[in-house]
Symmetry: C2
Subunit: 362 residues, 2 copies
């Protein structure tokens, strides 16, 4: 990408737009606050790197005390293995000869690699790929109400755990869930029951991994969980403010955009479209929040334009050529659209990091 | 991106998923059919490269008879200038010192470069950048009902045209619109009235550029337009089928995905999430169409997962590990997520092209 990335020392009002920018102090505070919480409650914390996709930021998370990192795909894990990370959990069902081959290669060079499975088909593929000389750690993914992947009952979890334990090349490492928001009680019940069933078979369940940023500071409500995974907490976004996880003072990512047209009294057009903000609504009815201009609503996006409805905005909106700051609905997806990410402190650029794992979808 | 891109000759059932693929025959047919239509009606055709972002595909469009290309941002135009394209229209208000400097550099090396403006602020920036030795061609962007950018009335268009004509470094080249779907009559009225106003001032309006894929084959309903611009027609997508522009036999892009989980009888999970399909709904209530499985609805996306509701699907859905083909709601945004694009003929890979202008948002 031929972006004119700014030098360190550049004031943000001189950068080219659209440009996502990360506030260093808020980033550091978000990392420290979450880690302090997990330290206090005696739980391991494993950040999901999908939010930033940047090795340097993951190193900040490890330096603060995280036990390792969470990736979603083999390709993402490869990027972080290349960057020297030694404890990687891939929370995905890995299927097919090509991916299993790459997973095996990854296992050769990552000290502590683990994956998940929620079906016999996935366990069979893993079992056929790994051997007892260096078994792969596998967790059973459980659906505790999130309604995505995962076995549906503790009974099914226990049965799949036994299949993993019975495969010579695999090691049953525990259970994992990505719960519904507010689902602490359901997670606790599921974990406790699964552990009982496993104990009855003489099996241990060393790792009980829970996840999610919206409920991060409620992780202690799941006492049986040993570990928590979260991604979005590192930058935060509009959806995190809505969930009560943070305030607007904790928002580390903004997208800088320029007003390129004010064609009618009730309409402004910004140069940040779906290629900068993405179309993720996450339940909102508009595509981001323009800081300082209450009532100005981003009602539609095309690839390179945001259409702002000014009808309910009582504050004089910036003129053509002026800049605005947008809080994205969802940070993680913005990171995937840019080759580099610009960091700043008090509006002065501090560094520009390559988004190492951008585009790693396989 | 560490994607294991397939070699030519690879069958599509052996590629790694998620993977968007382009059908060569349908691509060629879409290009030929649109160009034949414009030839028949005596209008210039200027494809918008945003849909594919690939120089090799733009060359196919020029070889078929297109007069030049349409880009949306300076950075996109730079990529195509680097690839040797000599007639580029940038349909965007270009503002700010950094972008104007790059636009001037582009003008030095592109034989026929033109841009648009819809306000005095934009014209002033352009006027201060270019000089009479090599004036820049500028079209007035008009809002004929699309409600994005553009002057609101023919009177305002004529006034802005005069300002452009009065700037020594600029040349008034005509008018341009990106209309609402079905807006032919409004476009024709706007163009005719603007030409009358300009004629009364002794001004010519050589280019009258209309646009859009959904109404591409209705372009003859705007007889006063000299040129048409369209992007999506080249691949087509679910929204183009809905608009009546094409049938499912004209869909050149599919996204191949693998079933990674069937956790419950009414739910399947695919490995193509918003990082492969984007969250663009374009008015649909689900995130793409799974070919051959009517009633199977992609009801939600997270970054790496599509959740498929099977409740209303009467056909046995593929098992974990098997592949499905998804018709995306919107092709252009998918192109922006992948570093390369895989082309095939009858399911055998023919070539893998770099998506040259991926991520060019500034």
């Amino acid at each position: 990408m031929n972006y004119p990335w700014p030098e360190a020392g550049t004031p943000l009002d001189q950068v080219v737009t659209p440009m996502p920018v990360i506030d260093e102090d808020r980033l550091a505070a978000n990392i420290a606050k979450a880690q302090a919480y997990f330290n206090q409650h005696g739980k391991a914390f494993r950040p999901h790197i999908k939010t930033h996709k940047i090795a340097a930021v993951a190193r900040q998370q490890l330096a603060a005390g995280a036990v390792g990192i969470n990736c979603q795909k083999v390709s993402e894990a490869e990027v972080f293995a290349d960057a020297g990370f030694e404890d990687i959990l891939i929370t995905y069902n890995i299927l097919g000869a090509a991916k299993l081959k790459r997973l095996r290669e990854l296992h050769e060079r990552v000290a502590r690699l683990s994956v998940v499975a929620d079906s016999e088909a996935v366990v069979q593929g893993l079992a056929a790929t790994f051997d007892p000389a260096k078994p792969l750690a596998v967790l059973v993914e459980c659906d505790t109400g999130g309604k995505r992947c995962g076995v549906q009952t503790p009974e099914a979890a226990a049965i799949l755990a036994q299949k993993i334990a019975a495969a010579p090349g695999l090691r049953f490492a525990g259970i994992l869930t990505y719960p519904a928001i507010g689902g602490a009680a359901a997670v606790e019940t599921f974990i406790v029951r699964t552990m009982e069933l496993l104990a009855a078979k003489g099996m241990d369940c060393p790792i009980r991994s829970n996840g999610g940023s919206p409920d991060l500071f409620s992780a202690h409500l799941v006492p049986s969980a040993t570990e928590h995974r979260a991604g979005t907490y590192v930058y935060n976004d509009r959806s995190m403010v809505r969930s009560g996880h943070c305030t607007t003072d904790d928002l580390a990512m903004h997208i800088l955009a320029t007003v390129v047209s004010k064609p009618a009294p009730d309409r402004a057009i910004l140069d940040a479209g779906s290629k900068a903000l993405t179309s993720d609504l996450l339940g909102f009815s508009d595509y981001g929040m323009i800081e300082g201009f209450e009532g100005a609503r981003i009602v539609s996006l095309s690839e390179e334009h945001a259409t702002v409805d000014l009808k309910d905005c009582r504050i004089a909106f910036p003129d053509v050529g002026q800049m605005v700051k947008i809080v994205p609905n969802h940070t993680c997806v913005v990171s995937n659209l840019f080759d580099r990410m610009v960091f700043h402190r008090n509006g002065i650029v501090t560094r520009v990091e390559i988004v190492d794992a951008r585009g790693t979808v396989w």
